[in-house]
């Protein structure tokens, strides 16, 4: 039982950054914008988050730094892709290249430093619930928050008028514009939300996952988050399943390395990436009947006046 609980807790921790970043990107993509810069926003969030926590000694302020950094990065993307109608794929790539450089520059002074990682929650009454208590209420606050975030995103997209308008922009921006909705403004807000989430997800890594900053520590998690959004068919509920599956693969390969399975460690480390390719193929294939992606995803929109 102890071991099972330990593994579940490890999977939760590994999945949380994926879930937060993917939830943000899901909202962005639902508004019709494909922001491929998640990796770049995450890595800048990680550097700024660590810097914030190290300078102030507060994990909370560190997380805020991460959120602000991610949002600023996403604003650059919004200016380019929405303001100047530049190709979204190319802009997203540029954002990632820029982010990797910026994070190295910002984080250079903090390599080798340590902080006290985020404390684990202890809520009297809730944490002691057998079986689920420690899993749901015994991890750091980020884990709880990520689940709340997904519920919030679901509620917003499917239970509010604003969510409906946002989805309309993603499915047909011409119609949404004709109805008088400010498509570009709505998309900008969606992009900023995605950036804030990516920044927070990046900050989670040095604030809670490992208590130090190393350059390139996101290691492709931003890209996996993008794949997760495809995996989820743009539905928040399936995002949770996907994120925990990927977390499980990550933890599995780490443990397998520890057990000394007769497979070289590099092959085990490659598993999450190979799994991503495999899942993308499997899901895209199953979906031949018709795409579930937002119809206007990734297309340029210039309102006529």
């Amino acid at each position: 039982m102890e071991l099972v609980e330990a593994i579940i807790l490890a999977v939760l921790a590994a999945s949380t950054p994926l879930l937060i970043a993917a939830a943000g990107e899901l909202v962005t993509e639902r508004s019709g914008v494909l922001n491929l810069g998640v990796e770049g926003m995450m890595i800048v969030g990680a550097a700024c988050g660590f810097a914030g926590a190290w300078l102030t000694g507060s994990i909370f302020i560190g997380a805020l730094f991460g959120i602000v950094a991610g949002t600023m990065m996403s604003l650059v993307f919004a200016l380019m892709a929405l303001g100047l109608a530049v190709n979204q794929v190319a802009t997203g790539l540029a954002l990632t290249i820029l982010g990797v450089g910026l994070s190295g520059l910002i984080g250079a002074g903090f390599v080798g430093e340590r902080i006290t990682p985020a404390l684990h929650l202890y809520i009297p009454g809730l944490t002691e619930i057998p079986l689920v208590g420690r899993v749901l209420f015994g991890e750091d606050a980020f884990v709880c928050f990520s689940l709340a975030l997904v519920v919030g995103v679901w509620w917003f997209l499917y239970r509010t008028r604003q969510g409906l308008i946002l989805r309309a922009c993603g499915d047909n921006h011409v119609s949404a514009h004709a109805l008088g909705y400010p498509v570009l403004r709505i998309r900008t807000i969606a992009v900023m939300f995605g950036g804030a989430c990516a920044g927070l997800a990046g900050a989670y890594l040095p604030l809670a996952y490992t208590p130090f900053f190393i350059p390139g520590m996101t290691a492709g998690r931003g890209w996996i988050a993008l794949a997760l959004v495809v995996f989820s068919s743009w539905r928040p509920g399936r995002l949770v399943v996907g994120a925990y599956l990927f977390g499980a693969v990550t933890i599995l390969q780490l443990h397998a390395q520890g057990w000394g399975v007769g497979v070289p460690s590099q092959f085990m480390s490659a598993l999450p990436y190979l799994a991503t390719v495999f899942v993308l193929v499997l899901l895209s294939r199953a979906r031949t009947g018709g795409s579930t992606a937002p119809a206007a995803l990734g297309t340029v929109f210039v309102p006529d006046r």
């Binding site: 303001g83 100047l84 190319a90």
Partner: protein, 363 residues
Amino acid sequence: MQLVLEKRAERSNTIALISPLIAIGLTILTMVILFAILGKNPLLALHAYFIAPLTDSYSLQEIAVKATPLVMIAIGLSLCYLANAWNIGAEGQFLIGAVAGSWIAVKTQGTDAGVWVLPVMLVLAAAAGALYALIPAICKVKFGASEILTSLMLVYVADLFLDYLVRGPWRDPHGFNFPTTAEFDPVATVPLLIEGGRLHLGSIIALLVVAAVAILLGRTIKGFEIRVVGAAPRAARFGGFNSNQLIILTFAVSGALAGVAGIIEVAGPIGHLQPGISPGYGFTAIIVAFLGRLNPLGILIAGLFLALTFIGGEQAQIAMKIPLDVTKVFQGILLFYVLACDSLILYRFKLVFPNRQVARGAG
């Protein structure tokens, strides 16, 4: 005040020509600000970046050496991007090409193998790079899986595979446990063009590739198909062009070119296989492709320019202690400006003041 885009009646050819120059100018302006923030003298820094490398023969050769992989990869990528296929995993194809070619070099080490070794290495690297690029292409064509994500995931896989080989089966037994193969034999090494210099045969190969692709795009039906499929997919369908076939083709060609670039880098300037053989050539080549306007000659110039930033970055680090990451920031900002300026080709920027409706051009 609001920024509004107004579509031009037709694309502006003047701006198409000068937009990369505007972008470079804006980037340099931004860098001056960044240097000032870092507390470095901007003029000295710019000199170290852009002028100093041009003043001695060694650095000039080094620029050509660095530009070689960038140009070769970017030429391949430009074919993909023209056909609207998004190969962003060139870094992985580069590594796999390096691994496949090195296989021959490692296996023939210390034997009396003849001059056939290097050509076989090049062919094998091209084949391996092409096959590796075909994985995302086939996943895209057969199953509709996003080639962007799959090609990128395979970069990490290739990196780990190379790491495994040089730490495991291919490690140099006399290498003091360093993760590297033994130095390649002379027959497995790309010959130098100038005795004692840095310039090697790979640069000539890169020039040949530029010429070949320029002919392919400008003078052949296939080149025309590639351009039409990307620019006007509907027209291409009416023309009976098979876009799936072109995705496969452009991915295979770009993978092969990246693979050859990989083995040339390993069998040339580096001389052995080790982790970290690429400072992100596969990603920088994306910038080269766009800065060169997806045009072979443009890419050649853009490749030389970005190679200059690599060399300049190293010199600025040595001379002024400017972190190497500044080079990456520089490259990222440059791509942003290039893309933004490209928008000017199709649109006019206008600032609109809602109250007075006074519009004036802002570009």
